[in-house]
Amino acid sequence: MRSRIYTIIAGHFKSWYRSKSNIFWTIAFPLLLIVLFGAIFGSGSTKFDLYLQNQDLNANTPTPYSQQYISVLNDTGAFNLHTVAAGQTVQQALDYVKNDAQLHNRGQRLLIVPIGFASELYSTKNANISLFIDQSDQASQSLKGIVFAATNSYASHLSNSTTSINVQQTNLVTRNIRYIDFFIPGVIGMTLLTTGVFGAVNTNGRYRELKIIKKLATTPLSKIEWILGMVGYQMILATISLVVILFFGYAIFGVTVTIDIYTVGLVVAAALLFPGIGMVLANFVKEAESADAAANAITFPMMFLAGTFWPRETLPDIMKLIANFMPLTYVNDGLRDALIYAQPAQALTNTIIALGLAAFFIVLGSLLLNWKEE
């Protein structure tokens, strides 16, 4: 005899793959989003983005030497210069660059004109500038070459052959995170959210309307077996989504990821958490159609606020606050930490939060699930 749980998983799975719309929303739609967003935001500029911090100020005004040097860099036509506020420490400047570069899909490259640049040049004919680049950034070598050339050109322009400016290069160890790298874990999170919530609303709302749940309740099948079957099915679906999206991301955009225990933990959490939310919804909104609308009302704001399409840092403060209460936030952040940033400590925190939320919602959903008619 086949086990009941296996039968329920197989039943859900067959119903899933026989529906074109299910396949579309679970597989094709996320891939379509990746292609669209990747094409829109992934296209590179012919100029190199370069962050620039000019610390060499005099009464809050750039010194003439530093101003001239920046003009030379600008005149090369090779750079889109993005100014970093002068008052920030090096670390603050690097943090700013990291966030802003991710947001705008730029390389992390920072050039600092230090305090005393002008006075050093004037007094010792020798000055330093600092260039921070990411060695994994394919453009870094070209960019470095242009910076060196422009700097030498400026030094010679000072009409004194003894003048020299040293470019002190520092390699950034962080990976160059492109928008597509940021986006792919978000798409995975979004897919887990929609398949989980809508799957549970469908099986527990529509199946109740069709009297399938009532029929099952008259058999030896227990409520726990039913829920385990549903969660098992969601885990299989989540794994398929994960594999397909990651494979696609690698094949089309060369996105490489790290799959570790946190990834597994987050997929397990998502397969419990989102069906749990769906079960709670299906209980409060009795008619399947209304439950579907309620599922949309829950999933859409989460998709847009929980860091699926853009970093939460860009949201207004009130939205950031709201996002903190959205379970998808922790799944998205955790997936990003685990898959892309390889930050185990942060991934662990998010995985624990996601698992905690998962336990809460699946238990609440199970308690509320109207197995019998009482």
Partner: protein
């Protein structure tokens, strides 16, 4: 086997269902009001009544889906109120819930296997497909079937564990006449196989055609029980002689001294018959211009029984 059920069923161990003073209250509504009945092995029992009479509530108590508010009910000698007995009942009963639909995207066979896998013991799906006459649709997805065929899948699913007792809750509601007949045919086959069937319906003809015994329920109370013939003989009233298409003119042509005749819709004249009056009435009609009209004798039906007992008829929709 539990033996704490009091007096009403002494020595009736062949009883598959025993219900005593059963009641169910929802907030302020008494849906089932102290009903008692029993069902013998191998019997087709019809629970007959309009929508909202308490049929489904009663059935769902027997299926262990609802807890009774009062009274006792035993199914296959197991107490529906005892948690430990409920598991035993579920193993042994087959249920077709009202308005049941199987899983849309599974085929007929897959649906039977799906629900069969919920039991330790499962009948061969192909055998069941043959029983409900769905061989041609074996591999068709459920969503592609017509209403009648869907209901036959429901019947197969209800039988998948070879149950000792089958509950069919309004199995033909909403079906066209042909599909209803097809479902009746399957139920007749079950009857021939000796299955015990608990059928709820608001169709009087269905109960009359299929049931060995009938209990009529209205407003949560059983108002009459017996075989269809017993109910008709006791509560159905007189037979009626019908003269087809006679119209107003026909009424004037009736011989003097006949029981009070009435004109019914479509112009038929109805004359209530007392025992032994038929021959004399026919002879007297032969002397009138009505002698060439189509004449038939109509036996009372359960419709008449219900009308006589409650003062109202049940509509096609069950209201």
């Amino acid at each position: 086997m539990s033996d704490n059920l009091p007096a009403p069923f002494p020595g009736q161990s062949d009883k598959v269902v025993q219900v005593e003073k059963l009641s169910k209250k929802y907030k302020d509504t008494l849906a089932v009001n102290g009903i008692s009945f029993s069902l013998a092995k191998g019997e087709v029992f019809a629970f007959l009544g309009p929508n909202g009479a308490g049929k489904t509530t009663t059935v769902e108590i027997l299926e262990c889906l609802r807890a009774p508010t009062g009274g006792q009910a035993k199914v296959l000698d197991y107490d529906v109120s005892k948690r430990s007995d409920q598991g035993e009942i579920r193993k042994r009963i087959g249920v077709l819930p009202q308005d049941f639909n199987a899983i849309d995207r599974l085929t007929v066979r897959e649906n039977i296997d799906y629900f069969g896998a919920m039991f330790d013991h499962q009948l061969d799906a192909d055998q069941l497909i043959e029983l409900v006459d769905l061989k041609d649709k074996r591999d068709a997805q459920f969503k592609t079937l017509s209403g009648g065929l869907k209901q036959r899948v429901g019947l197969a699913v209800a039988l998948v564990n070879d149950p000792a007792l089958v509950f069919l809750d309004e199995p033909t509601t909403g079906l066209d006449p042909r599909a209803r007949r097809d479902v009746w045919y399957v139920i007749e086959r079950l009857k021939k196989q000796g299955k015990t069937v608990f059928l709820t319906t608001h169709y009087m003809d269905e109960a009359e055609y299929l049931a060995d015994t009938v209990s009529i329920i209205d407003h949560g109370q059983i108002i009459a029980s017996g075989t269809p013939d017993q109910l008709i003989d006791t509560h159905g009233g007189k037979k009626t002689l019908i003269i087809r298409d006679a119209g107003e003119e026909g009424l004037k042509q009736l011989p003097i001294g006949l029981p009070k005749a009435e004109l019914r819709n479509a112009g038929d004249i109805a004359i209530p018959l007392n025992n032994g009056e038929l021959t004399s009435i026919l002879m007297s009609l032969g002397q009138t211009p009505l002698h060439d009209k189509e004449i038939e004798v109509r036996r009372p039906t359960l419709d008449d029984v219900f009308l006589n007992l409650t003062g109202h008829r049940v509509s096609e929709e069950g209201n």
